[in-house]
Subunit: 235 residues, 2 copies
């Protein structure tokens, strides 16, 4: 039985990675005299990976990692004005408008009529709350959970709190690593809706021979898939 459907937010319901990419381009341009784009990208990714345990996910940590990388690749010679530009780029990310992805509103609306729908996202608390509010989708969800990471136990707790357990729950999102695999480990269904842009630290291989795993090209097919799962064809 399926009672509860969880949606990821960034790059599932609205654009996110594209803003990170734009900021990274700006970062590359700012440091063009000091490092080649590919090298800079590798160093930034290394800093993000190194800092993940301390900073967690989100724009503030990304900004701090950009600043750290700028100092590193210039051997401490980057002008403070460039650091100021990086700070400004981070603040702009925190103010960017929310652009819903195609079919996001209709998919959530359709399912909210028949199921408990919840939103589960990671990132900076205040920034994620702002995006939920600006998306106009907040009222469709029975609950919004902003978490520091998406592990099986996190899904177990959330689907027990707001639904009837993870084994009667489905998670829909663009990240195999964060949305799909840990939800399947928790006993639920995992639906992958790929986004053209995915952050390198979110990459993972799809599960093999897993009956509770599905892939959709877009959210437009979600209501149909859920209907089939509920009719037990896919259990």
């Amino acid at each position: 039985m399926l009672t509860t459907i969880g949606f990821d937010a960034d790059d599932t319901l609205w654009q996110n990675e594209s803003f990170f990419r734009l900021t990274q381009e700006r970062f590359t341009n700012l440091l063009a005299d000091h490092a080649a784009p590919d090298h800079l990208h590798d160093r930034l990714l290394a800093a993000e990976r190194r800092n993940l345990d301390r900073y967690g996910f989100g724009v503030k940590g990304f900004t701090l990692s950009m600043i750290e990388t700028a100092i590193e690749v210039t051997d401490g010679r980057v002008p403070a004005t460039v650091i100021g530009e990086i700070l400004a780029a981070g603040r702009e990310m925190l103010a960017h408008p929310v652009n819903l992805l195609p079919h996001a509103r209709e998919a959530v609306t359709a399912l909210a009529a028949e199921y408990r729908v919840i939103l589960i996202t990671k990132g900076d608390l205040l920034d994620q709350e702002r995006k939920v509010a600006q998306s106009g989708l907040g009222d469709l969800f029975q609950a919004v959970e902003i978490v520091s990471d998406k592990k099986p136990d996190v899904y177990r707790t959330i689907f027990a709190r707001h639904g009837t357990g993870a084994d009667q729950g489905m998670m829909v999102g663009n990240s195999l690593k964060s949305d799909v695999l840990p939800m399947i480990s928790a006993g639920g269904w995992g639906v992958h809706v790929p986004h053209g842009l995915t952050w390198a630290l979110e990459s993972a291989d799809p599960p093999q021979g897993e009956r509770r795993f599905h892939t959709l090209e877009s959210l437009s097919g979600l209501a149909d898939l859920v209907g089939k799962v509920a009719a037990s064809h896919y259990i």
Copy 2:
């Protein structure tokens, strides 16, 4: 009737502001050639206030505001190595050990035997989770809620979710502005346990003629106070 007791975390159960003060001293020393301590402090506070809507509370936003202030007060001439020191100071804050305040463990333990006790804190999600885990107090709480801000509606939602409503709840904390006043506005009890150090942006005047407001010198008196409130002497 009183059923549920919420505890603030930073500077109520464990030290926090003292780490911010130490980092701020280090920041002052790093910029000693560029700005007098008082002036620097004012500029930093202004940056923190200005950025609160974007960064929210916590160490990452504080670090970003320090960097912004360093650039500002030096008219963009601060060396990148100094910015690197500020980054390092921020990372150290995110790694500092948790020092419980006197009577914290015994107060929570005593009340957890008779009441639902929950922990309600604001700040960076991952950092607050880390501190809860390191405090060793996590298992005493029925729930841990990390929120972006502490407003009456936030308390109403949390005490409805984990208790029997804010009007049957009490909030215990060191901040009149965040822990006490909004909880009283939500219909509950507010117990102020002042900490010697309080961040300027948390200052507020105590409520006047409010029967549900209490002040304690330390958490050692909390179980007694709760007993009296429960016996209706203080309703």
